[in-house]
Amino acid sequence: MTERVSEHLAVGEVVADQTYWVTREHLVRYAGASGDFNPIHWNERVAKSVGLPGVLAHGMLTMALSLRLLTDWLGDPAAVIEYRVRFARPVVVPDDDTGVAVRVAAAVIEVRDDGVVALEITVRVGDQKVLTQARALCRMPGGRPGLAS
């Protein structure tokens, strides 16, 4: 129980992989909760008038979903010490009940001696990466039950 979780991780290992569905309802909820009322995230007419293909998910919502994959895995949300992403492609959210599937996976890039783990996060819609250059640094809890043996 005193061993570090990071001692059990191998470079290249996929530690988490999850699909999240994003609907127009999620965008409205996120707009309200975050205070980001940019109309391109809820108004098709405005989105198209500025040359976008349709209503887009907030980049920050996609970032939040991809980070949630990590915090679910880590348990402690404060274990994430750095996270960066590039919003490479828009996530177009259709006006239907199912929405768009965003698939997120996290793989280990580096395990440091101090217990910090660097991860690469891939975020895809279909076979296209919507976030690129997504990297996280996480402080691994020592001997967390269920992960460390």
């Binding site: 999620h26 909760a33 940019n38 939040a64 949300p77 404060a78 590039r86 919003f87």
Partner: protein, 153 residues
């Protein structure tokens, strides 16, 4: 109209924001995140926190307050802004009850293919002045007649 590069280096007044329990809950629900550390004090204490903490990207709420002031200052219309990249570096989590102050600085402006790329640095600190997180964001501002251009977010 391109943004005048003389605005680079401009620092905007620190914006106060108080992290409330209900806002943390609302934000966690909006991103579909059921981590108990956001709503249950005992669960947060198991991770060594005094009380509930906010999801890491919650930091964007105080950061955006600064963006709003910057965009207002530069006359940028919100619907023409797309988020190109984002980095957060955390020194400590955002805890409930913390009154943060966010300082916003325009680090650079670059014209690329008729668009303006803005790099914005935001420093979120607690009431004692201790760092909570640093946000580095790149925003792309599309020109007014942009209906034939590529888009990203």
């Amino acid at each position: 109209m391109p943004i005048d590069p003389s605005v680079v280096g401009r620092v905007y007044p620190a914006q106060p924001y108080e992290v409330s329990r209900e806002k943390i809950r609302e934000f966690a629900e909006a991103i579909g995140d059921a981590n108990p550390a956001y709503v249950d004090t005992d669960a947060a204490r198991e991770h060594g926190h005094e009380d509930v903490v906010a999801p890491p990207t919650f930091a964007m709420i105080p950061v955006m307050r600064g963006f709003d002031i910057l965009m207002d200052d530069l006359g940028i219309e919100f619907a023409r802004v797309v988020h190109v990249d984002q980095r957060f570096t955390y020194s400590q989590p955002l805890r409930v009850g913390t009154r943060v102050e966010t300082t916003t600085r325009l680090d650079s402006v670059r014209a690329v293919a008729g668009n303006d790329l803005l790099k914005i640095r935001s420093q979120v600190r607690d009431e004692t002045g201790a760092d909570i997180c640093v946000s580095l964001a790149t925003l792309l501002v599309r020109p007014e007649d942009s209906s034939d251009r590529d888009s990203r977010d």
